[in-house]
């Protein structure tokens, strides 16, 4: 029972990070109809910037803030310099360009920092507090839950309640009409990319201390898990992404706890295939009419 509680809390904590990362994927998918396969690499790049700042100044929190700012800037840059100029006629094109970005970013990181693992420090203790003899959750888990909670509710509030959020939704939903109504559609798109990339960078900062450390490929498997989370929830649904993230986190935690951590990649693949074969549009997607 102790083990079950521990695995559940650990799974929820990882799941919260996957949820944030999946949410970033969903943000870009809704805004630009692009699945940003470069998101893992972009997030790692931001984390490396944070690592540089943290080791230079000795302050974790300065690095944390810098990572998010770097993520925001990188997202805007990727949109302005690369994605904007890609022909979106075929859905393959943006995917291929994003993969080119993956190669480029990981190679540049490898050239600058080398490909050895760098330690990623956690700002709080990762040893669990015990309540009534049962190890429940660590201060770091609490920090993760709080941060993700703030980000998710902040995004939800922004999209639902603020004029900028309304413009962003309008620009994504009906670009032509919004442009006629005076919405800066291109600017909203860049903002969407920046926000998503910033959330991705935040997620990377939260997940890296629980993994082996900082490495150009550190987010590959996290990306696959987050993509699975986004697909479980249906790529179009932000609440779906959050639920999907938690589900994937729990599943991976149970699999690695009860069956061995080697099997987690396989579990992700099986879950992804199972969901897509049963509901090709994701569990939370409305039943779509066939496009003609």
């Amino acid at each position: 029972m102790d083990r079950f509680v521990f695995l559940t809390v650990d799974g929820l904590s990882r799941g919260a990070v996957y949820a944030a990362f999946a949410l970033a994927l969903v943000l870009i998918w809704r805004a630009a109809r692009v699945v940003n396969f470069a998101q893992g690499a972009m997030a790692v790049a931001a984390a490396y910037v944070a690592y540089t700042v943290s080791t230079a100044t000795g302050s974790y929190w300065l690095g944390f803030v810098v990572a998010i700012v770097a993520g925001l800037l990188l997202g805007a840059l990727v949109d302005r310099v690369v994605m904007r100029h890609v022909d979106h006629a075929s859905p393959l094109n943006p995917v291929i360009v994003a993969l080119g970005l993956v190669l480029l970013i990981q190679a540049v990181l490898g050239m600058v920092y080398g490909s050895e693992f760098r330690p990623a420090e956690a700002p709080f203790s990762r040893s669990a507090l015990t309540v009534g003899g049962v190890a429940v959750l660590s201060p770091y888990d609490l920090f993760v839950f709080a941060t993700i909670g703030v980000v998710v509710s902040g995004l939800a509030w922004m999209f639902a309640r603020t004029p900028v959020g309304l413009r962003m939704r309008a620009a994504a939903f009906a670009p032509e009409v919004s442009r006629l109504l005076g919405v800066n559609v291109g600017g909203m798109l860049t903002l969407g990319w920046a926000l998503a990339s910033g959330v991705g960078a935040l997620a990377a900062m939260l997940v890296l201390p629980t993994e082996l450390g900082l490495h150009p490929h550190a987010m590959d498997l996290v990306f696959v898990s987050a993509f699975t989370a986004a697909v479980v929830g249906g790529l179009d649904s932000p609440p779906g992404a959050v639920v999907g993230g938690l589900v994937v986190g729990l599943l991976l935690s149970y699999v690695s706890g009860y069956a061995g951590s080697d099997l987690t990649p396989l579990a992700v693949l099986v879950l992804l295939l199972a969901v897509l074969l049963v509901r090709p549009g994701g569990l939370f997607a409305p039943v779509a009419a066939r496009r003609v």
Partner: protein
């Protein structure tokens, strides 16, 4: 109603009787390429022979990916994993043969056939899933395959020997070729022959009824369905064909390197293959050739560049591993934005421009 010949034409173009049968024409090209390869294999040094053999192995995989992505419109990021399937099958088969003390020229083809068969089985499973998926979903699933399959080698290290991988015992060239026959030349012959055979089959497939159906499904699924084409079956078939060639390519690479390890078939390899196909030119087998050449030539080129610069060993090592990747990535982005037809598209456009100019000069 168009004339009967036009309906029967495999390539969708009006039949030109003077050009003869497609099969004969492709056979002639393949024979010429084979003779050229043999001539080259005698005239260049062993290392170049080995590089050419590597190009041939990659060409198998890129040609298959061209058929899948360029002709059928399905994106696969998992071809590195399919190559791994072929490579590990060949390693297991060759080891089994060697353990039983079996020798003979027919063992290697048998292992290659087994590699193709196992990859076809894996490809069919992925293909059935892929046929239900579109665009980013398909990319995501195949990406997961590319990340997960190499990890399986570590999970089941009893069979696959974990990160170290397996060695592939390969017999020396037959004695009938003489005692001093260079091993690299023999490698080039073997991989060249296998690749040319695969290319011949693919070229004929592209020009056949199936190639036309592949293109129809790529261009408009609804129209294809209305025309009586079974879309899902076609997509699975394309995936299986593509998987078979990828498996052969992986098996050949394993035979060349005489070892397999999960590190050689990482996600990066899958991205490399896709990049090679896109830069070469999607939908053309010649584009696959350019891509395969690039895959071998570019790391070699960056290696010689980093050797020319005087750098500290640590910096040189970092550059050498990553510079090709950076160039690949950058080229991929630039090509997708500036020249979506790739190298072969540029060449064709150039050729057409030159051809178009000639008659005007005459008149």
């Amino acid at each position: 109603m168009p004339p009967r010949e036009q309906l029967d034409d495999p390539g969708g173009r009006p039949v030109d009787r003077r050009r003869g049968s497609t099969l004969l024409r492709h056979l002639a090209v393949v024979l010429a390429a084979g003779l050229l390869l043999v001539a080259i294999s005698y005239s260049v040094e062993p290392f170049r022979n080995f590089q050419l053999a590597t190009v041939a192995a990659y060409l198998c995989a890129t040609a298959g990916l061209t058929v899948l992505t360029g002709l059928n419109g399905q994106l696969s990021l998992g071809h590195g994993a399919l190559m791994a399937t072929g490579a590990y099958t060949v390693a297991l088969c060759q080891t089994a043969f060697a353990d039983r003390g079996m020798t003979g020229g027919w063992l290697l083809p048998l292992s290659l056939a087994a590699a193709i068969a196992s990859t076809v089985a894996v490809g069919a499973v992925v293909g059935v899933a892929a046929a239900r998926l579109r665009g980013p979903y398909l990319a995501g699933v195949t990406l997961a395959v590319a990340v997960v399959v190499p990890a399986l080698a570590v999970t089941f290290d009893g069979v696959f020997n974990g990160e170290q991988g397996l060695s592939v015992p390969v017999e020396p060239p037959p004695l009938s070729l003489g005692p001093y026959f260079p091993y690299e030349r023999w490698q080039l012959w073997v991989t060249g022959a296998a690749t040319l055979l695969a290319l011949l089959l693919l070229a004929n497939l592209i020009r056949s009824r199936y190639g036309r159906i592949f293109r129809a499904v790529r261009d408009d699924e609804v129209a294809a369905r209305l025309a009586g084409i079974h879309v899902a079956r076609t997509q699975v078939l394309a995936f299986v064909v593509s998987a078979a060639t990828a498996g052969l390519g992986g098996a050949l690479l394993a035979v060349l390197a005489q070892s397999v390890s999960p590190g050689a078939f990482s996600l990066t390899l899958s991205l490399f293959l896709l990049m090679a196909v896109v830069i070469g030119g999607l939908g053309r087998l010649t584009g696959a050739l350019w891509g395969a050449v690039l895959l071998v030539a570019l790391p070699d080129l960056t290696h010689s560049v980093t050797e020319m610069l005087t750098l500290s060993p640590a910096v040189a090592q970092r550059l050498e591993g990553n510079l090709p990747l950076a160039i690949f990535g950058l080229t991929l982005i630039v090509v997708m934005i500036a020249a979506p037809g790739g190298v072969q598209g540029l060449l064709s456009r150039l050729g057409r421009a030159l051809l178009a100019r000639r008659p005007t000069r005459r008149s």
